[in-house]
Symmetry: C2
Subunit: 159 residues, 2 copies
Protein backbone atom coordinates (compact mmCIF):
# COMPACT_ATOMS: atom_id res chain seq x y z
CA UNK A 1 0.00 0.00 0.00
CA UNK A 2 1.40 3.41 -0.91
CA UNK A 3 2.86 5.22 2.10
CA UNK A 4 0.54 8.25 2.15
CA UNK A 5 -2.54 6.06 1.81
CA UNK A 6 -1.38 4.02 4.79
CA UNK A 7 -0.75 7.21 6.78
CA UNK A 8 -4.25 8.51 5.94
CA UNK A 9 -5.75 5.35 7.42
CA UNK A 10 -3.92 6.03 10.69
CA UNK A 11 -4.79 9.74 10.97
CA UNK A 12 -7.99 10.75 12.72
CA UNK A 13 -9.77 13.58 10.88
CA UNK A 14 -13.44 14.52 11.09
CA UNK A 15 -14.94 13.26 7.82
CA UNK A 16 -18.30 13.21 6.00
CA UNK A 17 -19.05 11.43 2.75
CA UNK A 18 -21.95 11.21 0.31
CA UNK A 19 -22.64 9.85 -3.15
CA UNK A 20 -20.78 12.65 -4.94
CA UNK A 21 -18.53 14.17 -2.25
CA UNK A 22 -16.14 13.71 0.63
CA UNK A 23 -15.45 16.41 3.21
CA UNK A 24 -12.79 16.68 5.90
CA UNK A 25 -12.45 19.25 8.64
CA UNK A 26 -8.76 19.80 9.38
CA UNK A 27 -9.26 22.50 12.00
CA UNK A 28 -7.78 26.01 12.07
CA UNK A 29 -4.61 26.40 9.99
CA UNK A 30 -2.61 27.70 12.96
CA UNK A 31 -3.14 24.30 14.62
CA UNK A 32 -1.69 22.28 11.74
CA UNK A 33 1.11 21.03 14.02
CA UNK A 34 -1.40 18.41 15.19
CA UNK A 35 -0.52 16.58 11.92
CA UNK A 36 2.81 14.86 11.35
CA UNK A 37 4.46 13.41 8.29
CA UNK A 38 7.31 10.93 8.44
CA UNK A 39 9.04 11.61 5.10
CA UNK A 40 10.53 8.32 3.90
CA UNK A 41 13.90 10.00 3.16
CA UNK A 42 14.16 11.95 6.44
CA UNK A 43 15.04 10.89 9.98
CA UNK A 44 12.62 13.07 11.94
CA UNK A 45 8.87 13.54 11.33
CA UNK A 46 7.74 16.83 9.79
CA UNK A 47 5.29 18.42 12.24
CA UNK A 48 2.63 20.62 10.67
CA UNK A 49 2.21 18.78 7.36
CA UNK A 50 -0.96 17.07 6.15
CA UNK A 51 -1.50 15.38 2.78
CA UNK A 52 -5.24 15.10 2.13
CA UNK A 53 -5.73 13.30 -1.21
CA UNK A 54 -6.32 9.89 0.34
CA UNK A 55 -8.61 11.27 3.04
CA UNK A 56 -10.75 12.84 0.31
CA UNK A 57 -10.52 10.23 -2.45
CA UNK A 58 -9.21 12.79 -4.95
CA UNK A 59 -8.36 11.50 -8.45
CA UNK A 60 -7.14 14.64 -10.26
CA UNK A 61 -4.93 16.32 -7.67
CA UNK A 62 -3.01 16.01 -4.44
CA UNK A 63 -3.33 18.69 -1.75
CA UNK A 64 -1.12 19.33 1.25
CA UNK A 65 -1.29 21.82 4.11
CA UNK A 66 1.93 23.05 5.72
CA UNK A 67 2.75 25.22 8.72
CA UNK A 68 6.40 26.26 8.79
CA UNK A 69 7.44 27.81 12.13
CA UNK A 70 8.97 31.31 12.08
CA UNK A 71 12.55 31.14 10.83
CA UNK A 72 12.24 27.58 9.52
CA UNK A 73 12.98 26.39 5.98
CA UNK A 74 11.94 23.20 4.23
CA UNK A 75 15.28 21.37 4.57
CA UNK A 76 15.59 20.31 0.91
CA UNK A 77 14.74 21.52 -2.60
CA UNK A 78 12.84 19.35 -5.06
CA UNK A 79 11.66 19.11 -8.66
CA UNK A 80 8.89 16.98 -10.15
CA UNK A 81 8.61 14.37 -12.89
CA UNK A 82 5.22 15.23 -14.37
CA UNK A 83 3.21 17.34 -11.92
CA UNK A 84 2.74 21.08 -11.91
CA UNK A 85 2.61 22.53 -8.39
CA UNK A 86 0.61 25.48 -7.12
CA UNK A 87 1.55 27.10 -3.79
CA UNK A 88 -1.04 29.29 -2.06
CA UNK A 89 0.05 31.31 0.97
CA UNK A 90 -2.74 31.40 3.54
CA UNK A 91 -1.03 33.41 6.28
CA UNK A 92 2.28 34.77 7.47
CA UNK A 93 5.23 35.90 5.38
CA UNK A 94 8.21 34.15 3.87
CA UNK A 95 10.06 33.34 0.69
CA UNK A 96 9.77 30.85 -2.14
CA UNK A 97 12.98 29.84 -3.92
CA UNK A 98 12.66 28.62 -7.53
CA UNK A 99 16.07 27.87 -9.10
CA UNK A 100 17.92 31.14 -8.37
CA UNK A 101 14.89 33.41 -7.96
CA UNK A 102 13.54 34.38 -4.56
CA UNK A 103 9.87 35.42 -4.36
CA UNK A 104 8.66 37.34 -1.29
CA UNK A 105 5.29 35.90 -0.27
CA UNK A 106 2.40 36.74 2.05
CA UNK A 107 -1.34 36.01 2.35
CA UNK A 108 -2.77 35.77 -1.17
CA UNK A 109 0.52 35.00 -2.93
CA UNK A 110 -0.03 32.18 -5.41
CA UNK A 111 2.84 30.52 -7.30
CA UNK A 112 2.85 28.07 -10.18
CA UNK A 113 6.04 25.97 -10.32
CA UNK A 114 6.82 23.82 -13.37
CA UNK A 115 8.34 20.34 -13.11
CA UNK A 116 11.91 21.57 -13.70
CA UNK A 117 11.81 24.35 -11.10
CA UNK A 118 14.02 23.46 -8.14
CA UNK A 119 11.90 24.78 -5.29
CA UNK A 120 12.00 25.47 -1.56
CA UNK A 121 10.06 27.58 0.98
CA UNK A 122 10.94 29.29 4.23
CA UNK A 123 9.10 31.35 6.84
CA UNK A 124 10.26 34.83 7.79
CA UNK A 125 12.02 35.14 11.15
CA UNK A 126 9.00 36.71 12.85
CA UNK A 127 5.92 34.86 11.51
CA UNK A 128 4.90 31.28 10.86
CA UNK A 129 4.23 30.59 7.18
CA UNK A 130 1.09 28.61 6.37
CA UNK A 131 0.57 27.41 2.82
CA UNK A 132 -1.39 25.01 0.67
CA UNK A 133 0.24 23.06 -2.16
CA UNK A 134 -1.73 21.45 -5.00
CA UNK A 135 -0.21 18.99 -7.47
CA UNK A 136 -1.87 18.26 -10.82
CA UNK A 137 -0.50 16.64 -13.96
CA UNK A 138 1.03 19.14 -16.37
CA UNK A 139 -1.22 19.80 -19.42
CA UNK A 140 -4.00 17.57 -18.07
CA UNK A 141 -6.74 20.25 -17.90
CA UNK A 142 -8.71 20.24 -21.15
CA UNK A 143 -11.53 22.67 -20.29
CA UNK A 144 -12.81 24.47 -17.20
CA UNK A 145 -15.35 26.79 -15.62
CA UNK A 146 -17.88 27.99 -18.25
CA UNK A 147 -16.79 25.27 -20.73
CA UNK A 148 -16.90 22.46 -18.16
CA UNK A 149 -19.66 23.60 -15.81
CA UNK A 150 -23.32 22.64 -16.21
CA UNK A 151 -25.66 25.21 -14.58
CA UNK A 152 -28.50 23.79 -12.46
CA UNK A 153 -32.07 24.16 -13.67
CA UNK A 154 -33.60 25.39 -10.41
CA UNK A 155 -32.54 27.61 -7.49
CA UNK A 156 -30.45 25.98 -4.72
CA UNK A 157 -32.68 24.08 -2.28
CA UNK A 158 -31.28 24.87 1.16
CA UNK A 159 -34.22 23.05 2.80
CA UNK B 1 -10.17 34.41 -27.08
CA UNK B 2 -11.79 32.54 -24.17
CA UNK B 3 -13.64 34.87 -21.80
CA UNK B 4 -11.54 34.28 -18.66
CA UNK B 5 -8.30 34.75 -20.59
CA UNK B 6 -9.58 38.07 -21.88
CA UNK B 7 -10.62 39.09 -18.35
CA UNK B 8 -7.15 38.19 -16.99
CA UNK B 9 -5.58 40.56 -19.50
CA UNK B 10 -7.74 43.40 -18.18
CA UNK B 11 -7.16 42.74 -14.47
CA UNK B 12 -4.21 44.37 -12.75
CA UNK B 13 -2.48 41.99 -10.34
CA UNK B 14 1.09 42.18 -9.06
CA UNK B 15 2.96 39.47 -10.97
CA UNK B 16 6.47 37.96 -11.19
CA UNK B 17 7.64 35.35 -13.67
CA UNK B 18 10.76 33.28 -14.23
CA UNK B 19 11.86 30.34 -16.34
CA UNK B 20 9.97 27.76 -14.28
CA UNK B 21 7.39 29.78 -12.34
CA UNK B 22 4.78 32.51 -12.27
CA UNK B 23 3.67 34.24 -9.07
CA UNK B 24 0.77 36.57 -8.38
CA UNK B 25 -0.01 38.51 -5.23
CA UNK B 26 -3.77 38.83 -4.86
CA UNK B 27 -3.70 40.68 -1.54
CA UNK B 28 -5.41 39.72 1.72
CA UNK B 29 -8.40 37.39 1.29
CA UNK B 30 -10.74 39.79 3.12
CA UNK B 31 -10.13 42.31 0.32
CA UNK B 32 -11.18 39.96 -2.48
CA UNK B 33 -14.08 42.28 -3.37
CA UNK B 34 -11.51 44.27 -5.36
CA UNK B 35 -11.96 41.54 -8.02
CA UNK B 36 -15.10 41.21 -10.12
CA UNK B 37 -16.36 38.54 -12.46
CA UNK B 38 -19.03 39.16 -15.08
CA UNK B 39 -20.50 35.66 -15.44
CA UNK B 40 -21.65 35.24 -19.05
CA UNK B 41 -25.02 33.85 -17.94
CA UNK B 42 -25.71 36.48 -15.24
CA UNK B 43 -26.84 40.10 -15.43
CA UNK B 44 -24.78 41.60 -12.61
CA UNK B 45 -21.03 41.14 -11.96
CA UNK B 46 -20.00 38.85 -9.09
CA UNK B 47 -17.90 40.96 -6.71
CA UNK B 48 -15.25 39.07 -4.75
CA UNK B 49 -14.41 36.39 -7.33
CA UNK B 50 -11.03 35.88 -8.99
CA UNK B 51 -10.07 33.13 -11.43
CA UNK B 52 -6.27 32.84 -11.54
CA UNK B 53 -5.35 30.13 -14.09
CA UNK B 54 -4.68 32.58 -16.92
CA UNK B 55 -2.74 34.96 -14.68
CA UNK B 56 -0.48 32.06 -13.69
CA UNK B 57 -0.27 30.07 -16.92
CA UNK B 58 -1.52 26.90 -15.21
CA UNK B 59 -1.95 23.83 -17.42
CA UNK B 60 -3.23 21.17 -14.98
CA UNK B 61 -5.78 23.05 -12.90
CA UNK B 62 -7.94 26.12 -12.55
CA UNK B 63 -8.07 28.02 -9.26
CA UNK B 64 -10.58 30.59 -8.06
CA UNK B 65 -10.86 32.71 -4.92
CA UNK B 66 -14.29 33.71 -3.62
CA UNK B 67 -15.50 35.97 -0.84
CA UNK B 68 -19.22 35.51 -0.14
CA UNK B 69 -20.66 38.25 2.11
CA UNK B 70 -22.43 37.19 5.32
CA UNK B 71 -25.86 35.78 4.51
CA UNK B 72 -25.18 35.46 0.77
CA UNK B 73 -25.52 32.31 -1.34
CA UNK B 74 -24.08 31.53 -4.76
CA UNK B 75 -27.33 32.11 -6.73
CA UNK B 76 -27.23 28.84 -8.70
CA UNK B 77 -26.13 25.22 -8.38
CA UNK B 78 -23.86 23.55 -10.92
CA UNK B 79 -22.36 20.24 -11.96
CA UNK B 80 -19.33 19.53 -14.15
CA UNK B 81 -18.62 17.61 -17.34
CA UNK B 82 -15.17 16.19 -16.58
CA UNK B 83 -13.55 18.15 -13.75
CA UNK B 84 -13.32 17.20 -10.09
CA UNK B 85 -13.63 20.21 -7.79
CA UNK B 86 -11.97 20.81 -4.44
CA UNK B 87 -13.32 23.52 -2.12
CA UNK B 88 -11.06 24.80 0.67
CA UNK B 89 -12.55 27.10 3.30
CA UNK B 90 -10.03 29.74 4.30
CA UNK B 91 -12.11 31.75 6.77
CA UNK B 92 -15.62 32.30 8.08
CA UNK B 93 -18.42 29.78 8.36
CA UNK B 94 -21.13 28.58 6.02
CA UNK B 95 -22.62 25.60 4.26
CA UNK B 96 -21.91 23.55 1.18
CA UNK B 97 -24.84 21.87 -0.54
CA UNK B 98 -24.13 18.74 -2.60
CA UNK B 99 -27.31 17.19 -4.05
CA UNK B 100 -29.45 16.91 -0.89
CA UNK B 101 -26.62 16.92 1.67
CA UNK B 102 -25.67 20.03 3.62
CA UNK B 103 -22.12 20.21 4.99
CA UNK B 104 -21.32 22.75 7.72
CA UNK B 105 -17.96 24.34 6.92
CA UNK B 106 -15.38 26.55 8.57
CA UNK B 107 -11.64 27.29 8.29
CA UNK B 108 -9.87 24.08 7.29
CA UNK B 109 -12.93 22.35 5.80
CA UNK B 110 -11.95 20.73 2.49
CA UNK B 111 -14.53 19.15 0.17
CA UNK B 112 -14.10 17.03 -2.95
CA UNK B 113 -17.11 17.22 -5.27
CA UNK B 114 -17.46 14.80 -8.20
CA UNK B 115 -18.74 15.85 -11.63
CA UNK B 116 -22.33 14.71 -10.92
CA UNK B 117 -22.64 16.49 -7.57
CA UNK B 118 -25.06 19.41 -7.87
CA UNK B 119 -23.31 21.97 -5.66
CA UNK B 120 -23.79 25.36 -4.05
CA UNK B 121 -22.24 27.39 -1.20
CA UNK B 122 -23.52 30.01 1.20
CA UNK B 123 -22.08 32.11 4.00
CA UNK B 124 -23.56 32.04 7.49
CA UNK B 125 -25.64 35.07 8.48
CA UNK B 126 -22.90 36.51 10.71
CA UNK B 127 -19.59 35.91 8.87
CA UNK B 128 -18.27 36.30 5.34
CA UNK B 129 -17.22 32.98 3.82
CA UNK B 130 -13.90 32.92 1.98
CA UNK B 131 -12.96 29.87 -0.05
CA UNK B 132 -10.66 28.56 -2.73
CA UNK B 133 -11.88 26.24 -5.47
CA UNK B 134 -9.57 24.07 -7.57
CA UNK B 135 -10.69 22.22 -10.69
CA UNK B 136 -8.66 19.31 -12.12
CA UNK B 137 -9.62 16.63 -14.61
CA UNK B 138 -11.10 13.53 -12.95
CA UNK B 139 -8.65 10.58 -12.90
CA UNK B 140 -5.83 12.66 -14.43
CA UNK B 141 -3.33 12.30 -11.57
CA UNK B 142 -1.05 9.34 -12.23
CA UNK B 143 1.48 9.72 -9.42
CA UNK B 144 2.34 12.31 -6.78
CA UNK B 145 4.57 13.39 -3.91
CA UNK B 146 7.23 10.72 -3.23
CA UNK B 147 6.56 8.98 -6.56
CA UNK B 148 6.63 12.17 -8.60
CA UNK B 149 9.09 14.35 -6.66
CA UNK B 150 12.84 14.46 -7.33
CA UNK B 151 14.82 15.52 -4.22
CA UNK B 152 17.56 18.14 -4.79
CA UNK B 153 21.18 17.13 -4.40
CA UNK B 154 22.32 20.04 -2.25
CA UNK B 155 20.87 22.21 0.52
CA UNK B 156 18.66 25.14 -0.53
CA UNK B 157 20.78 28.14 -1.53
CA UNK B 158 19.01 31.14 -0.01
CA UNK B 159 21.87 33.45 -1.12
Amino acid sequence: MPYLEELAKEQTIKKQTGKNFAAIHCGPFDQLEQYELQHPLRKRPFKGKLFAKDHLGLTGMQISYTKLPAGASVPFTHKHKENEELYIVVSGRGQVLVDNDIIEVEEGSTIRVDVDGDRCLRASSDTDLIYICIQAKTNSLKQDTFDDGIPGESAPNWG
